[in-house]
Symmetry: D2
Subunit: 296 residues, 4 copies
């Protein structure tokens, strides 16, 4: 099997390696001349056997839009585009519609695993027609972790379903991370009682109810920096978390832990909180409680 | 009527004035020689007609404990102690029991109104026996706001009920403040759309669903500093908010907004968040996402 | 002044009355023949002096869209459309653009006050050009509460600003209601301590920090049904609350109390919670904890 | 090694088996004659070699208190009591002090793993003196999972530290469960998009960021009942979750996801929500919105 792969960054680059290791022929294209296999998109298209399969692994939003549009202009009926990036599932409807006008097929693939995917394989959630999914199963099999297929791969539904599932996956992920983080702070805070915070997390890796891969990663982080003193409590968030909240609200699904975890990230990035200025001002007004002046 | 008043700080001092303005005779005692009417607690006790009524208005916890103990040693059967401070309602059970052993009566009074109470009167929630409450009604009538008695005063139940109601009052207060504060941030954030944040709050004072006294105070604060730039978003919390959460948890009452408002205060006081360090560390581990170094 | 008013339901009907009481001439149009002043939209347009002013007070979304489109077809350059409904502020951009192509002006007006507006006046937040706002100020003055104009009316910014401010107002409103509601449950739960829940709320109306119009409404509700036993804990939500969350997420504004209040409403409407089924299932799996069978 | 084990329920019974399988001699005592090895506590004490080691595995609170008191009366200096139940860490201070007065040693052991512990081993977090922990290490080694000791066992600190760590563990566990549960509801809600909810969870078991033991248990639950239709969304909570909130509040640690998960459980057990009655009543008051009558 021979596929094209657009986007050879942290994720795409590793995926090319994993695919090749599994015997899949991959022609990669990236703007970065140091990593690309071909010089232009036209070259990529020309290099692939028909019907072509091209996996797109670029940042969601405008860049994915632009790549899909470029592919629409260059591909033929019967070709297949797979968006493996973190696109919003609603984008899939748009992309599939655009491509289908020329008879080009479309699959959306949610991909989880981060930098560890090269070694461990990637968890895959895909949306699209059964026939197309079947056709590129060798690619999915190469990317997914070893073990039973159904434990690392799922055909979730029609177009959009893969990214919807990935969005929910990431929403859950946000809340899981926040849960361990709250536990970390509860342990750290009582250093008079807890003499070995990293050792406590380490000991939770076997037998306990809270054991997980994220826990193992936290153990690794604490191995490197046992009180995380070198890291600032400043956390970015990406689209999936926000979309999860929006979908929850649109569908009347209560998501108190997922929303709490994204709000905690928002706060973590604020130098000063406008909301808490207002609360401080109110306390000062009714109780004469002193406030901290900004120039303190 | 002639009562004793222990504690002449921001609250107690104003209350003495309001009581005297209403024709109640007040002998005040405070450690601060500049404000006290008598030099010692013994003098205070000696100055009062029997059966004595002493209103205690000192910080909750050890200081209130100590004052109650001192009064226990000095008062006689038939005397009455009123704790008007912010004691936890469970303390009232203890204080009432101690005093009742000598036949001394006890009332707990939750007092709301802050520095505005001198002018507006104080909202009062009291716990104790009907007979005792009736006996000191002139004092309550002097302290409470003008208007129908039941709109500024309530006999909530037996001993402890006054402080329980005040605790819940303060829990609600925390969440109300946070609600306006979130709204303030939402308005501030879109200065491209909202050209007049203070004017918006000002306009909510009449006719709207959100009009309230706290809103009026926020309008005052914005009159003084229209973007609150002089105030830091650093907010203390006092016992009542925390006790409200504890009572909620003990009684299986869900309190998502009250807890959110107290957690927001906790976060506001942290220079760096241990929890968010942990989240940042986790993102770095699985995604290779960069972290901010503490010495950045 | 003579204006047209489209939509004569609970809100629009009262507004017509209040406007007429203030000496504004109003021609109202509604699908309901019992309340309308004219039989058709064409008649309404014909009845108004030029330049015309038409206030639209119909449900947000498709109905407002349709009315704006109908007006676009019938009005002339220099006429003015005011959307006083609960439209999303992003809709205003669309409506203003459509109308401006024909030279028709547009104002968005957030209106608060509910069924009490007839008597108390309506809190108004408007967006649009200064000239247009000035032109219809007599209408705003008639609708807004008595007292200083700036305490019941604000010109918040350009088109969209009025509805943005109203959206935030409603987000705050949700959280305020939830705050009192949590307090109510905390008081109700301890009937062993709190002997008079309605009396407690009643006593908070004067002097306390939590006094507000919503509190007065809760007192009214408890006057009618002292433990709310006749009301089910089932609560709808409308667009503004959801949009507030979406805007907050889009702008990285933490809104823990507003989101908690909307999630509480979602839960209130569920017969059974899928999420809590999952938690019950998990507890059963790891701990052997018994679950309630659905047919219990 | 020969130890006594008090409490042979779901946890204690399995632990006896696992200990015996590992070659530890165990004399068990339980009120239930069908499972006990000896008829009375006196017999248990008499059966053990000196210095005795007795592991207590009974419900936290009064029952543990009573057993510790009974052991205090029967044991000698140099004997050791291990509380492996879910006691609050503050209880450990009390128990250790009581026993130390007679020279009896004390260890608190947090034990995680539920019904799976027999097969997988139990995650152990212990508090106490290094010498005592060392002395009973063979017992801990028999109970903990296979693999490196530090991945399933930790000596967290002095007395109380084990149960503190277990409390935090359970707080985290609550939030993790809620996170997956919210994801489940988000997937279930969009059955138009997600055609295979159980398959999606199954596929998350390998390679993804959210893989964990709890996820595996959810997969098992969905294998048995693919939409959880047989289970009611009614969830109990136990002490640890509540204590976690109390400790968080006492130490000013923000725990938004842990608190959200416990509040969700509270709500799940309510037939009707007093708080939501109040919100419904308020909406009815200001907006004339209809309410559901309780007898609807």
């Amino acid at each position: 099997m021979h596929i094209g792969l657009i986007g050879l960054g942290k994720m795409g680059g590793n995926m090319r390696t994993r695919l090749r290791n599994a015997g899949i022929e991959v022609t990669g294209f990236d703007q970065n001349p140091d990593v690309t296999d071909v010089a232009t998109l036209d070259e990529l298209v020309a290099a692939l056997p028909s019907p072509r399969t091209i996996w797109v692994m670029v940042p969601a939003g405008k860049i994915t839009d632009s790549v899909v549009s470029d592919l629409h202009d260059r591909l033929d009926a019967g070709d297949l585009v797979i968006d493996g990036g973190n696109s919003r599932f609603t984008e899939d409807f748009k992309h599939a519609e655009l491509l289908s006008a020329k008879g080009i097929d479309y699959i959306d693939a949610g991909v989880s695993g981060g930098v560890w995917g090269l070694e461990n394989g990637y968890g895959l959630m895909v949306g699209g027609s059964a026939a197309q999914v079947e056709r590129v199963m060798p690619v999915f099999d190469a990317l997914r972790p070893e073990g039973p297929r159904e434990e690392g791969f799922v055909h979730v539904g029609e177009v959009g379903a893969g990214h919807y599932a990935k969005m929910v996956h990431n929403g859950i992920e946000y809340a899981l991370m926040q849960a361990y983080a709250e536990g970390f702070e509860l342990l750290e805070k009582r250093e008079d009682i807890i003499r070995d915070v990293p050792g406590t997390f380490k000991a939770w890796q076997r037998g306990t109810v809270v054991r997980s891969w994220l826990l193992e990663l936290l153990v690794r982080a604490l191995d490197e920096d046992d009180d995380l003193s070198e890291i600032e409590g400043y956390v970015e968030d990406s689209g999936e978390g926000r979309w999860t909240i929006e979908e929850a609200v649109a569908n009347a699904v209560p998501v108190p832990t997922i929303s709490a975890s994204i709000f905690a990230r928002f706060v973590s990035r604020q130098e000063d909180s406008p909301a808490m200025k207002a609360v401080a001002a109110l306390r000062n007004q009714f109780g004469g409680h002193s406030v901290k002046k900004s120039d303190d």
